[in-house]
């Protein structure tokens, strides 16, 4: 193990390390703590300039309720759910199929196609922006929930296929071969042999894509206009304009927007991390 385990060091170093950990953590999360403190302040504190010191009174429930009652935050949150959930379902499903094809079959264009998905995943959004926006306007998908999740699903299919293909490639190929010798149909091999084995990959992709798409801001701006289809990230910016100088409400709204991905991360940490490392770092 590197660095040398702290248990092997002298007592002062050990205690010093243990004592320094929380300090380091607080420093690291200082911006977040500051905004959390702001989100539970009362308007009185904000107006009197007490924005950094200890709150004179706690208005946690008041502020968070105010966000919901005085703005369209609830609508935005719900829109985000309606956009992310179908995105996850579609992109992971497509990637299971495509990843299986690219990992199991040996055909000439398998690797070029795989690289196409990989490359597509790295391109700048801006190169897609005008055509996708124009297409959405033409097909009536502009400013709708479906317009957003269809795009996200297609785009995220690139990353999901990359991950899925590598995951399936790492499975023992004998499984497929012996099933073929038994005369099992190809789709049955996929369904009964491979699919049960890729469940961890599905979980990893699901949490990761959920987070990516939940946090999307660019496409929310490109593909929506009004409140009806705006997700929470774009909503928070709209609130920022609406709640000028009501920093306590803006902070509360921002933190609310962060809760679902954070919860997702803490609940499925292991999967989340394996997804982030793209399966390359085990």
């Amino acid at each position: 193990m590197f660095p040398r385990p702290i248990e092997q060091s002298s007592a002062p170093v050990r205690y010093g390390y243990q004592a320094f950990l929380p300090v380091a953590l607080i420093l690291w999360l200082l911006p977040l703590l500051a905004i959390f403190l702001t989100s539970i302040r009362s308007a009185k504190d904000i107006n009197s300039g007490n924005v950094f010191g200890w709150p004179s009174e706690f208005a946690l429930i008041d502020n968070y309720t105010a966000v919901f009652t005085q703005s369209a935050a609830a609508q935005y949150m719900w829109n985000s759910v309606l956009i992310t959930v179908p995105t996850v379902a579609i992109s992971v499903a497509l990637a299971c199929l495509a990843g299986y094809a690219l990992a199991i079959y040996k055909f000439r264009v398998a690797l070029p196609l795989f690289f196409l998905f990989v490359a597509g995943n790295f391109i700048p959004f801006q190169i897609l922006m005008v055509p996708v926006r124009d297409m959405s306007v033409q097909t009536g998908l502009y400013d709708t929930i479906a317009g957003q999740f269809l795009f996200h699903a297609a785009f995220q299919t690139g990353f999901c296929t990359l991950f899925m293909r590598n995951f399936i490639k790492a499975l023992p190929f004998d499984l497929v071969e012996s099933a073929r010798i038994e005369g099992i149909a190809e789709w049955k091999i996929f369904w009964y042999v491979i699919l049960p084995l890729v469940r961890p990959a599905i979980a990893a992709l699901a949490v990761l894509i959920f987070t990516f798409v939940w946090n999307d801001f660019f496409w929310a701006n490109v593909l929506t206009q009004g409140e009806a289809a705006k997700p929470i990230t774009a909503g928070v910016r709209a609130l920022n304009g609406q709640f000028v100088n009501n920093w306590h409400l803006v902070s509360a709204a921002s933190l609310l927007a962060a809760i679902p991905p954070v919860a997702c991360f803490f609940l499925m940490q292991k999967h989340f991390i394996s997804g982030l490392t793209m399966g390359a770092v085990k």
Binding site: G49, G120, F122, I127, L150, F155, F190, T233, L255
Partner: protein, 331 residues
């Protein structure tokens, strides 16, 4: 279905074309849904954008559905060459790329700091990772507020250090400062660096988690052997540990480069490219040009996007080449 094919038909058993070519056809059936979807939303739009960059178009159609785009050839690129905002954006992209790279060593540094097994370590590791999970919009808002000279953390700390508070008869506090409080996001020289610093926060967390996972896999035997040979500290890190972290480093560099060139959210939230366009990067400038309040300029926007795409393509080709080498190695 009433017609059933008799299993023992008189025709000699010659399997159907489909049966014979099962292994050649099957992959395409699995691939087609993803390919169609990906082609419609990703592959084809890339070419449309490249093509559109040779046109001038405000996004409108005539009554009978014809696009009003007019061919201008390379004029958009010529205009770009003379556009000071374009060059500012490009320079800022470069600053992002270079400074964002700090996330890789800093992530490694924090990972090394946290790679211990004291009680509660899991909690610390996940809390250190926290910034990456929250949306960049939220990070941008947090830092915008953090930097605020009047009531942000930076302003407050500065006042505590360099300012004297005087309270007038009416009870209003005013500050007299030895040095004026810096307004980072309103300063054309510093705003970009302020945003990059904010962007580094989640990116360091990402690199840290990659390295923490990588450190788990570092061979204990090699470390012990190197220790017996008297290696320690920096030497051990550089010659024994870092080489073993190569896969983690590769992914960290990939995601950091892509992240730097894709930076959009924070700029849009913190400065919207201002003051005076000084914090623009190509991704944000493209958006600003293409969808602005002064009317849509899809053609010009597409030419900015094409330049950004070209830059990304250099990196993407390098990454793919690396991956191709690995693939060859696997065979």
């Amino acid at each position: 279905m009433t017609h059933a094919v008799a299993p023992n038909s008189s025709v000699p058993d010659r399997p159907s074309w489909l049966k014979r070519n099962k292994l050649a056809v099957a992959p395409w059936i699995f691939l087609i849904p993803a390919l169609i979807f990906f082609a419609i939303y990703v592959v084809i739009p890339i070419f449309q954008s490249l093509w559109l960059s040779l046109y001038e178009w405000n996004g409108l159609y005539t009554a009978d559905g014809e696009s009003t785009a007019t061919w201008v050839g390379f004029q958009n690129y010529a205009k770009l060459w003379d556009d000071p905002n374009f060059w500012t954006s490009l320079r800022n992209n470069l600053a992002w790329l270079i400074l964002y790279m700090l996330a890789v060593p800093l992530g490694l540094f924090i990972a090394l700091f946290l790679n211990q097994t004291v009680t509660g370590m899991r909690f610390y590791k996940s809390m250190f990772f926290f910034p990456f999970v929250i949306s960049q919009v939220v990070v941008g808002l947090i830092f915008g507020w953090f930097y605020n000279p009047d009531f942000g953390v930076v302003g407050t700390v500065w006042k505590a250090m360099f300012c004297e508070e005087t309270v007038n008869i009416l009870g209003n506090a005013t500050f007299t400062c030895a040095r004026p409080v810096p307004d980072i996001l309103s300063s054309p020289e510093w705003a970009t660096y302020g945003i990059i610093a904010a962007g580094l926060w989640p990116q360091i967390a990402y690199c840290m988690i990659l390295y923490l996972t990588g450190l788990n896999n570092v061979s204990a035997d090699q470390i012990e052997a190197a220790r017996l040979d008297g290696a320690k500290g920096w030497k051990m890190l550089w010659y024994v540990v870092v080489p073993q972290l190569k896969p983690a480093t590769f992914i960290a560099i990939v995601v950091t480069v892509i992240g730097a060139l894709r930076s959009f959210d924070m700029i849009a939230i913190m400065t919207q490219g201002g003051p005076f366009g000084s914090t623009n990067v190509l991704s944000h400038y493209m958006y600003e040009v293409a969808i602005s309040e002064y009317g849509e300029r899809y053609g010009y926007g597409s030419s900015v996007a094409t330049v950004l795409f070209g830059i990304m393509l250099i990196f993407i080709s390098y990454f793919l080449w690396q991956m191709y080498q690995d693939e060859k190695g696997l065979r």
